[in-house]
Symmetry: C2
Subunit: 237 residues, 2 copies
Amino acid sequence: MTNYDKKYDADDKYSLRGRVFQKLREDILSGRYKEHEELKEVAIGEELGVSRTPVREAFRQLELEGLIRIVPNKGAYVTGITAKDVKDIYMIRSLLEGLCARLATEKISKEQMEEMEENVYLADFHEEKGHLDQIAELDNRFHDILYEACDSKLLEHTLRDFHRYVLRVRQKTLATNTRGRASNDEHRKIMEAIKAGDAELAEKLANQHMINAYDNMVKNGLKEIYGENTEEDTDKK
Amino acid sequence: MTNYDKKYDADDKYSLRGRVFQKLREDILSGRYKEHEELKEVAIGEELGVSRTPVREAFRQLELEGLIRIVPNKGAYVTGITAKDVKDIYMIRSLLEGLCARLATEKISKEQMEEMEENVYLADFHEEKGHLDQIAELDNRFHDILYEACDSKLLEHTLRDFHRYVLRVRQKTLATNTRGRASNDEHRKIMEAIKAGDAELAEKLANQHMINAYDNMVKNGLKEIYGENTEEDTDKK
DNA sequence: TCTCGTATAATTGTATACAATATACCTGCT
DNA sequence: AGCAGGTATATTGTATACAATTATACGAGA
């Protein structure tokens, strides 16, 4: 669990450490740094024009975000995500997104509700046109709205962590399949349940939404991308 | 979400940073540092005989564990837990402990099962004698066993985070009430459900176990200890 | 040719020095 | 008296220097 305060979040852009942290996170999530790749303090410091100190502090945070693993006196390595990890994450998310949707039904603001409707509408549009980037963007945003609407900083932060964690995986599977339409249909149903004030239904739909997302991943060859149990023996670089 | 690897966890005892990290965490959880208290880098460094560098790195980790909040260019403050936070945590834990118990039913090892039985048995004994410290210790351990038994590093780590997070609250309420017996009875029922292989039942019992724990907290005056919404305006030291 | 050990280089861990920022206090003005 | 501004002080942010550890290269010996 991490600091869940908005105003002073870990990624303040105005310190060197904050910039390093954001840059590295982005580079890891975007796939610039491969799994199990070693990150060298001096190399990264030189690239960004800073000393090792802010780099090291950024490392500590990345480690607790689960993006890298620091082995004492050896180095920092980009963490691998196993197929088992992904499965676990979706099991957990299924429950928590459901809880989130249930809470959001009571707490959502008018503005948030409107943005959610707009989101679903826009996603339909881009789906027609085949704009994959925008679809992915809207998908992320839909869940962010939900997280904000549940009115629980803790749940919001927890879900954001998990969500971010699977972005690396999603990027490799979402863009190449036809889940976009089904996913957005599910978004619409969740949105409608929330709008109708049916918390029970919203929860169930959100539960199922995650299960479907995971099933789709498996169908699209998750196992082929990530080994079954490669996490343990990653000491070799 | 944080690094969930066992071997090289954040709290390696052999580096100065690791020692500082552990010491500060213990001091915060034990209540030595009060809520909203400011932690000064030099003061802590001098107390432990180390420079500011390892202290700062430890701070970054404590921040992401949710124990302190770092305000850029100002300082590090022990985070406050509001009554709302506690409620949210128990809602989340209710779901995740349930999931954990369900998974553990399939995955638990013989050794873990035996330790769990022993745990319940011992807790009964200490309950009779009124050994409050041992009861609290066994309670923590029961949940730890469950976390280990679910065979999911991610779920285990997530639950451990939440569990640790509420320790500060629990210490103030558990020792003074009669929940010990009821709690251990619930542990026994969960244990028996797991032993019988009834995953559904184990999940439901674990769900309810958390709800009961929370209800008991409220009954014992949680609100009186923690303000309703004090988290936002903590800038004053 | 292979293995082992040693020297060397590379890398991380920590301490310290310096810079930037925030806070407290004091002075002078109205 | 009360407020504005500025200076001093304390504290955090960053860079650099040094120590400790680990990885690598190379050569001696079997």
